[in-house]
Symmetry: C2
Subunit: 527 residues, 2 copies
Amino acid sequence: MITGKNYIGEKLTATGTKTYKTFNPKENKETEWTFHEATADEIDTAVSLASEAFQEYKNFSGAKKASFLNAIADEIEALGDELIHAYMAESGLPEGRARGERGRTMGQLRAFATLLEEGSWVEATIDTAQPDREPLPKPDIRKMLFPIGPVVVFGASNFPLAFSTAGGDTASALAAGCPVIVKSHPMHAATGELVASAIIKAAQKTNMPNGVFSNVNSSGIEVGQQLVKHPKVKAVGFTGSIKGGTALYKLANERTEPIPVYAEMGSINPVVILPSALEEKGSFWAKQYAGSITVGAGQFCTNPGLLLAVKSNALDSFIAELGNEIAQIEPTAMLHPNICKAYQNGIETAAAQSNTNVVASFDNEASPNFGKQKVLTVTGSEFLKNPVLHQEVFGPYSIVVQCENDSELQQILEALEGQLTGTVLGNSDELVSKSVIIEALKERVGRLILNSVPTGVEVCPSMHHGGPFPATTNGKYTSVGVSAITRWVRPVAYQNWPLELLPEALKNDNPLQIMRLVDSEYSKKSI
Amino acid sequence: MITGKNYIGEKLTATGTKTYKTFNPKENKETEWTFHEATADEIDTAVSLASEAFQEYKNFSGAKKASFLNAIADEIEALGDELIHAYMAESGLPEGRARGERGRTMGQLRAFATLLEEGSWVEATIDTAQPDREPLPKPDIRKMLFPIGPVVVFGASNFPLAFSTAGGDTASALAAGCPVIVKSHPMHAATGELVASAIIKAAQKTNMPNGVFSNVNSSGIEVGQQLVKHPKVKAVGFTGSIKGGTALYKLANERTEPIPVYAEMGSINPVVILPSALEEKGSFWAKQYAGSITVGAGQFCTNPGLLLAVKSNALDSFIAELGNEIAQIEPTAMLHPNICKAYQNGIETAAAQSNTNVVASFDNEASPNFGKQKVLTVTGSEFLKNPVLHQEVFGPYSIVVQCENDSELQQILEALEGQLTGTVLGNSDELVSKSVIIEALKERVGRLILNSVPTGVEVCPSMHHGGPFPATTNGKYTSVGVSAITRWVRPVAYQNWPLELLPEALKNDNPLQIMRLVDSEYSKKSI
């Protein structure tokens, strides 16, 4: 049941008077629920509980934390269709997507549980003593990763489950040993409360300390600001716009004790189409990209917003075919009227830039809040000199840049801001002959994709979902895949510590049977 | 030969008119050399050369970069006594220290060479394709760490060799594949130029691209500011004061593209003395700490500036013995008259705080620029309410805090800012019975030391020389030991890439024979 209240630890509270509602974009009307924004006191209580819970939670074994994460997945599944219906009502996204994203969310939680059960993620590094070393004896030193403390998570508008309440940021922080306070996304507060209830149930069933998780409602920016400024908060996870992410980043850096903000923000995900791809598979790629640009109303961080190629007849044909394919696609609902309005403003601004031409534009009537796709084209020189065209337009939009030659294409790549992904369409021979272009692309992105579309992000250890600024605030870290856990930890070294008092991961007999670096050798053996 | 010029790549230049000299603090007079501060043009050329060199250098094999690092060590050794004399003249430090620090510097360079030759540091992570997976095939994804681009290094005043021109920051950045521009420390510009000449020689002998290293002179803050703001600079390494480090951190965050500043700054390195240590080994520890507080005129980042214990007769005896020991030590020259002045101001400020008492104070005549040791004592409640006493006084100073009880001691630890190290003196039983205190200490530090002194930082994989802010700007990273290399890299994932075009570390047959995570299993095997 959706109450509209905040979870301050395991307690449902609504002491504030500021309320708000969520919106069904497909039906173009408010949902049935009313939410109470968290008060300053409620926020402070949530953080204090998290800080207290941390004292206990940080020392739990991997197995115990894994049981919590698996229980969360179970409880999310147990929410059944109530969750699916809330998700669909608050996002306008179809049922298949809702069920798929729920599966992915549960899969992520279980993947972190598996990581904890295996245990090697703590990067145990041991150098044994050399008491006879000259001129000075060498001490015994052993380090591993430890959780840093309470983490605040800002959920994403476009992934009400997989990047929100129990999404990758929350799962990775809980896995690391950090309590989490979620700032509920105002567009899907009901979905958020249901998932929060599942986390609280799981915490109770697996005997986690009260405060290990809280969920606070917010309609504006104040709740988030208070959380980021709170001295007991030690890190922030964020998925959203460049404007929102950089504002939090700035706020966090202005604190007496600055804290890291891991923000995944904007990306236009350049796609370089090499001649072979246009000549040999132009129609195929036109169809594939028409789909990739419009899937989910283009509301993906990996949406291909920029297609780059050198002028040719084959490129002309590709553009024509892409236009035909795009025009045939039926628009779908965007997440919220505000997102749809921002999208319409974005495409109008882009189309109003000088010397842009329309490749495809869906101009028929559509239901309110539906995102009508648009694709533009422009020359390389025009694109280079107009930074407005480099900006992300969140929605089913892309721009095809027709470059004069390889050198102009390379120049454009070097002028781009950091990106989550870069895609190349072409054959192996071209990857070699155009290696300078590939290298320029690699320097701007976190993931290089060959002969595919950038939409669809695999959850696995090798995934890197994080590119140079402003794709993220810190391109060294990923928000997808189990490596995301490293954002919430720091190393501590023990010197000369009694072996029996060391954490399990650092003990001589390696009771956890994890991979360690012992005297510069990788090994699972005991010492 | 010392020319006083800048190394802009391999070229010695001095186009600027601003000059300055270094100072011999022991002899209390200027040295013989005159240095030309780098001009804006010279700085820009150095960064542009670094950016060009990066295109080639980033793709060099581990073996090739290792040969460069080993050659640097050889060339530093080949500088012979000219380097030792310049070091002593510009630092006032004794010959044994000069030779020891030179050995450590060479050892660090060779340790990074060994790391590169082994090769597993790139964290190769591979998930092989599952073309038959339902509902969607799983692509092949492979990620590893890649260098980020030109790095600027600010050397430390207190380690003219090991934390300066060819110190840990430079060695780790070059090892990672990043060209380095060193902002020469104004207090030891001759030492810096000699080491720079060794790096340039090594680069030429091992066929490194011009621009892989530059050394620019500076007397004030402008050169450093221009470097940090330069768009082609991708990261900064710094060792020095909280004021200097946070100013650069702020500047770097204000850039259009923010870049990381890894600054190792202030630390007072709390030492918790438990009752057993006072009762059983009080005299021993008094002698040890008198040495640790005064060694190198107290000019170490791990100098024990804060001793904490609960009031007892044994503590009274310890304080008396510490005072006796400290009083007998002969002062030595500090690095520079300005450092000595700052130290004198620091101890005067500390001693002027209400309710502090002097434990030991060297008040006899001493040569100019010599640091006269001072130790104060204060009650726990006084220390808690006076943040001035929490500040680092760089030099042979410490304060003994006499706590009312364990709970006050714990409160003090929780009120401390982040620290590089925390030391505990006591026996194993006490570590168990006082676990709450140990845990509070662990949360504030990067390294926990038992029954030793914090001065002396081992260079090895398990070392963590990096604590929570303001000990460093990012407590996740170390500036000592081979893990320091991870500051200058970021992961890039390749999706669906042709196996033959992948970097060696990601190829199926594992030609580098490195440890990799393949389909979630650690292995050195080929796929």
